[in-house]
Structures are given as structure tokens and as C-alpha cells.
Symmetry: C2
Subunit: 317 residues, 2 copies
């Protein structure tokens, strides 16, 4: 049985939050060779960006030689990169993306809903260059309360190929996925996508729910490596597809790559824990939690208390 | 808002599969003091058993001094112990359980469906002594195909207080929970319970689903510590209850105990991984996977291949 939706693995891109977008070359080699044989259609290899302050590794800028190497390792895959809308303007596009034309099939744009209109101009410029374009719009858990920006979707059918809903805080429940997709479908016929986070261990069920409701592309990462509590685990999703849709998986290769990332996980410690559960449940930004947890200086109970105080608007002493 | 169902934490009992039912006294002290202040009604402290071969620690036998100590630490909680039906007969009950009467509110019985009838005699003997009695019936994922034993539930309303459905393989999906509960509810009015495993990260959504469908008691363990991939995480479930049902949680105390178990998890490594995902999806016994994974001698990919061969009935060389 063939699956009726696309899968996008964004391990290097989303995992880069833990490694500063530096990855061991051998690891990337094994990862790419494995992606090539798995039932995954799109592989996101990193960001492209104008130069930012501070050190950011190779997969944050994805220079031409990186794109060329990775495309050679994954010739049958559609490669994607993502742009942070807040850092990129229309006039950057030509210079930033021209080197990508040979290697990159789709450009995604990470968007705060408050900048939605500005993002449309960016999308149009990118589409004109010939890329598939996806919108990754954040803070999905707030959209029920704040849905005005969705009106901006009207007339974008020829500009964007996928409209992704991003569960930025990882607190979405399956019923919310249904409600929000019902809302979004009243606004647009653009194909929908879902990017889940795993704070409440809801990434798989939310992703399955999104597909049942009509999503045509979903994201995952090996071992869930990704900002904060991380993402839907590629190996979990593929095992599920193997079981439910009888899609063949090369478990030996998958298992070897998973083991390499599990090893790295011991150092960086992504995955959910009590502070991430709390931040997911109460829609608090991952970034803050990730900093506090990552320092290993504060006991988990102090981090949760600090977060709890935030939700209660109590000044934390 | 009060919750309309009971929660049972069975960390020491189910976690014992990793520690041979030995636990550090200070850890147990902190665990019990924390349980005492959390919105958890039942705490399962271990097994009781006739002497078995091989070394099994204190919480496998729960001698009187252990029960007395733990009850003193958790005076407001209902303590439970569990029996393995396969090892215990009606004539053992008097000697085995008389010392428990002062400390233990409920006795649970872990039952293979094929021994369901035999278990009823055991349950009647235990009920006569004055305990609450729960059936923990295994292999829930097989019940759709093999439901005859459920006819034995007729007339047991006065014998058993809770009929637990146990997702032994950890491969149940929310729709299965609904289907199986619909089936079970046609057979009995006994209050239902759910014990989930987390192989596919479905423990929380399955537990929520079971409650929505009428379950009146559900199990969890701190950090999910439990056989194989482990259980619903107590801290995840409580965070969810805090959010959705506005139930107060003492996060500081919870966080401290979670941190102690997380530390132990680094050594024992419970939680899901690719072999457990695979065994969950294809209903393979946890015990085998746990042995292979626990040895740390085989790469994950070999374990998955060995499991895959089992499902395909190929002799593994």
C-alpha cells in the first residue's frame, strides 16, 4: 500500500538547536544514506540565512558545497531548507536562494502569525524563482483565540504549496488538531501540513489525527531530535506506518542511525521531561525552558516553579 | 474541580522489573512522602508471593515491616499489592494475605486470559478476607480476536471491584481502546480500569481515552518506570490533570522525586526505543525485548531484526 501523504524529515535542521547546527560528517553521511532508502519524500538539511551574530554551524547557512554533498547522497529525495521569516526580507531572496536552485526542491518559511502579511511578499519572491514554497506558521495552540491572520490565506493557492500548522509549545491535543484544521479548511484550499512537538507525548497521535483530517505532509526527526522536548520520532512514525499501512521499512539501516543519534542524545538530552511537560501544557516558550534545563544548574523542581510563577504572573525571586 | 476517577501509582511494583524489586530506602522514603501529597488514591507497593527461585528483593515479597513502614509514610493513601495468578492458588491466600489486612486496601491479580476461570476462585477467597479486589487482565490487544473469556465476567459484580484492561504489548491505539471497552461493557457492570504501556508513546492518549469511555481507575508510574518500555508517566498525567481539570499539583515535591528516578533511569534505561516500538506494534512480548536490550551487547538494529524474523516466522541464524 502506498501512503497518500508526504513525510518530511528535518533532523539536521531542528536537531541543530542542540548542536548549533554542527554535525559530525560521518553521522551526516550515515543519516543521508539511510534517508535515501526510507519512505520519506522530503529531507530538510538546514536553514539558509543572512549572516547572524554569534557562531552558527554549517547547517544553519547550508553553503553550496553542503547542498551539493547532501544531494549527491540523497539523489531521489526532495531536499528542503527553511528560512526564518523574521531575519529575511524579499530583497535577500535572490542572493540567498539562487545557489539553491540546483539542489533544493522546497523552501519553507518559519512565520510568526503576527508577520503573516509580510511573509506573503517573501513567499511570492521565492515562488517566482521556481521553488515549492511552504509556510510553517507557529503557535497553533493560540489560533482558536486569534484566527484573524488566517484570512490572509485567501488567494494564496498559487503561491504556497503547503500550509503547515506548527504546535510550537507542544501542548496541542488531538481534539485541538481537529478543531483547528476545521477552522483552517474554511479559509483555504492550500494543502496542509503538521509539525508536532512531543512535550506531552502527543506528537504521534496528533500527527495521525492531522493525516486523518486531511494533512498532506507531516514532519519528524530521528529520535525526535529538535528544539526543546523535540519532535515526532521518525522511527516511531515509520514503525507505525509499517504496522498500519504495511509500508516496508529497512529496520537495519534505520536502527543503526537511530543508535548514533541516541548516543548523541545522552550528551544533549533532548526529549520531554517535567519542565517541558509543564511548558507544553501551559503554552510557555520552549526557548526559555531549554536554556534553564540545558544549564544543568537548576534542579528540575526549580525550573518548574519558575515556569509556574510565570503562568501566575508572580514575580520570581 | 474534583476528578471522577481514581489514579493508582505502581512505580515500586512495576519499576521492580528493572531493580529486581530492590530500592534504596531514601528513595522510597521520598517517593512515599510525595505520593502522600499528590492527587493519587492508590499506591501499589509491590508483589506478595510464595517464595520463588532466584533473588527477588523486598518489594517482591513485601514483608510486614515493609508494609508497616510504607503505610506510616502514606497514611491517607490506599495501598495495594499485586499477585501473579500463575504462581498463587486459593490455598495460599490465607497465609499470604493475612499479614496485609492492617495495611493493604486492595489486592490486584495479574491474570492471563487463559487462566481467567481459575483466577475467579482466587478472587473469591481474597474478597472473603475483606480486601478490595482488582483483576489486571493481560494482552488486551488480542481481545478483539479472542473474547470468549470475557463471558466469565458474568456475575462477578460482588467479587471484583475493578476489571483492568492491560495493554501488555504497548501497541494499543485509542480506537482500539474504544472498541475493546465497548465490547467489555456488554459483558459486565464491574468498574473498569486501564494499565497502559508506552512503546508507541500512546500511554497518555490511551489513558485519557479510557477515562472518556468510562474507566474509573488508571495506572501510572514515576518517569514511566516499568517493564519494557514502561508505563504512563505519573508526572505527565498529573501535568495534564493540572491543565485540563485544574487539579492542584505540588510540582516542587513531584519534581524532586522525578529527578531521583531520572537519575536511576540513566543506569537502567527504561522507556521506549526502536525495538520496543517494533514489539509494541507487532504484539511481541516485552520480556524477550527487555532481555536483549538490557544486555547492551547487541546493536539495536540486530534486536529489531531478530524481532522482525519472529513476526515472519523465519528461523534466526
Amino acid at each position: 500500500m502506498k501512503k497518500e501523504f508526504k513525510t518530511l524529515d528535518c533532523t539536521l535542521r531542528d536537531g541543530g538547536y542542540y548542536t548549533n547546527w554542527d554535525f559530525n560528517k560521518d553521522l551526516v553521511f550515515d543519516y543521508c544514506k539511510t534517508m535515501e532508502v526510507l519512505p520519506i519524500e522530503y529531507v530538510e538539511i538546514g536553514y539558509r540565512s543572512t549572516p547572524l551574530n554569534g557562531y552558527l554551524g554549517e547547517y544553519f547557512y547550508c553553503p553550496k558545497h553542503v547542498m551539493a554533498e547532501l544531494k549527491a547522497l540523497m539523489p531521489t529525495k526532495k531536499l528542503t531548507i527553511i528560512l526564518n521569516e523574521k531575519d529575511i526580507r524579499g530583497h535577500h531572496v535572490e542572493e540567498l536562494l539562487k545557489p539553491c536552485l540546483k539542489y533544493i526542491a522546497m523552501v519553507r518559511i518559519a512565520i510568526d502569525p503576527k508577520n503573516f502579511k509580510r511573509a506573503i511578499e517573501l513567499a511570492k519572491a521565492i515562488k517566482l524563482m521556481g521553488f515549492e514554497v511552504a509556510f510553517n506558521v507557529m503557535y497553533m495552540s493560540n489560533w482558536k483565540q486569534d484566527s484573524d491572520f488566517l484570512n490572509g490565506l485567501e488567494g494564496l493557492e498559487d503561491t504556497i504549496d503547503y500550509f503547515y500548522m506548527v504546535d510550537s509549545f507542544g501542548g496541542i491535543m488531538p481534539n485541538d488538531v481537529i478543531d483547528i484544521m476545521t477552522l483552517v479548511k474554511t479559509k483555504t484550499n492550500v494543502k496542509l501540513g503538521f509539525h508536532g512537538h512531543n512535550n506531552l507525548e502527543m506528537a504521534l497521535i496528533n500527527t495521525i489525527t492531522s493525516i486523518n483530517e486531511g494533512c498532506e505532509i507531516v514532519d519528524c526527526t530521528i529520535t525526535g531530535m529538535g528544539r526543546g522536548a523535540g519532535n515526532l520520532k521518525t522511527e516511531l512514525f515509520l514503525t507505525y506506518l509499517n504496522k498500519v499501512k504495511n509500508i516496508e521499512i529497512e529496520y537495519t539501516k534505520l536502527g543503526k542511525v537511530v543508535a548514533l543519534f541516541e548516543e548523541m542524545k545522552k550528551k544533549h538530552g533532548w526529549g520531554t521531561n517535567l519542565p517541558y511537560m509543564f511548558s507544553g501544557a501551559f503554552s510557555l516558550p520552549q526557548k526559555q525552558v531549554m536554556e534553564w534545563v540545558g544549564m544543568n544548574r537548576y534542579p528540575m523542581s526549580s525550573v518548574v516553579n519558575a515556569l509556574k510563577n510565570q503562568t501566575e504572573d508572580i514575580k520570581d525571586n
